[in-house]
Amino acid sequence: MTANSYSLAPVWFTDVAGSALIIVLSFLAVWFAVRLAKIQPSNVIWIYLLWLCVALAVFGVSRGVGHIAKRFLLLMDMRDVWLSLRPYSGGINTLAFVLVASITLFFQRIHKINTAILNDKEALEEASQEVMHLNRNLESLVRRRTEELSRSEKKYRRIFEGSMDMIFILDEQGRFADINRAGLDILGFQNRDDLIGTMSLAGPFESSEEFDRLMADLHFNGFVRDRQCRFQTKEGKEVFLLLSATSRRDASGTVVSYEGIAKDVTARLYMERQLQQAEKLASLGQISTGIAHEINNPLGVMLGYTQLLLKDHPAGSQIHDDLKTIEKHARNCKEVVEDLLKFARSTQTRKSSIDINQCVEEVISLLAHQLQMDKISVETRLSPDLPRVTADGEKLKQVFMNLLMNARQAISGQGRISVGTESDSGQRVIRIFFSDDGCGIGVDHINRIFDPFFSTKPVGEGTGLGLSVSYGIVQDHNGHIEVESRPGKGSTFTLILPIGEAGCENSAPEKKWNN
């Protein structure tokens, strides 16, 4: 290679000027970095940049000053001074390199921390804005929610209160927590406070076993559906409810309340029972009519021949006495047969316009002495405005007599019988009540009291045809009998007869069972 000599002037000037420029630029960078950090003092990126710039400035100054000092010290023939400074300049340069590199390597970690801080800050700001928004709109939000709640509450309250069925809520112990108006009416309460918090659902239940079974099913299954339950109103009246209920549990599974709805099906049940009773009695009537007619004729013949034979035998003879016994029992049989025919409405009725109050009073006066002897008082509440009805007075008197006699027999010792009449112009009926405070009728017996020959009296004291005959007579007047009884408390028989034309006068018998 050919050796050429080159001037080092470019190197000299570049070194001096470059070093000076580096010092200037380093400080410029520091200056901008300082201003940047001042704009956002909390931004660690800018702080990092400031550190980086300061480190580079240290490097730039140490290197630039070192280079310039070298040039000028050598120029001024101060080589010894430079030689003594040189290690320091080089050492500081090396340290500056390491400082810059170290700060740079920390940048990633600093940025990661900064990003996390910024994210947290953003989340905090969002949360803060949301809280501020909520604060600003809290009042209107609460008002709006309250209105919505109020509307919803009113809606469901209307349904609750307006329901014709009983709706109730029970607490965890089965006590009433709330109940609607219909529920109060069904159970016979006027005031909600008489029930809520004090009375358990077990109270109105007639049977505690039935209540226990209901609660057990509610606990086990969580609900019961359309269960027919027998309740007793505050006044002791029997009502049948079709009950559906559910139990509500908290997160731990503990029952906290029960909610239920119950429909009053008493009227329907009574109607069904009456229908069944009417069908049963109609069948019995048909049978009775057949039997009575078949027995009536032979009995007539037996009585006729007995009376003929009595004429042939003088009184006092053994045969005469025997014939009298035959005649007596034949007549008893004939009475029974006639009662059967009355029950079956196969006897003729002679209807005319009659005053029911008068009929009632006549029967009471007829029995007054006997009742007085038995220490039974009779209370009458006869309506003075009772309209006249077209009916067979004698037969109705027989009905009243039967009912009063039954009432008397139901009372052991002292007692009271109430008789009343009232008219219902709306339904165009009159009602005649016979109430007693006697022993009442058992649940098992009440469905059979109108059956012919059904009697709870000892054998020989009654034929069991009294109520059957009464039933037949009232039916013959297009009316019906209702009975309400509580064992141990007494019974009330209510005769309901239509006002005006109570059946056709002299109505034809037999046909009625065939309809």
Partner: protein
Amino acid sequence: MVIRAKISFFIILAYLLSDSPAAMAFQSHPGPEGLYAHQLAHIFFILAMAFLAYWLQVNGFTLERGWRLIQVSCLLLILWNLVAFTGHWVEERISDAVISGGPDWTQRIVVDSVWTGLYYGFKLDHLVQVPAMLCLALGIRSLYKQAAREEQSGDR
């Protein structure tokens, strides 16, 4: 047993401190070690700048002009470090005789080999370092202006 071991340890330590030869006290650091430390610092500087340039690229910082200029500054500083590192290395391989004249701008260099040629070129390292520092200053200035604008508009 433990007490005996402790006593033995302290006896050995006392012996070493009182009767050790000079070579065991400290190690000398002659001239080349300073150069090596300086060269290692250059390598450390290169690695740090490479890491920063890469990290700015990967994390999308270079979408902004300021950071882009800082990234260019990093690359130029890497180049400068390579020049300086090689310059120091070459300087050790050329003779002082190739440079003649007084210690001023009149000095001359005899380029008699590739090394002296390279040495001459590497001596102009400021041509790389000055643009690097310029890019750094401009980059930070750009970031400052952007931050100031955003601060005024209330975006941040």
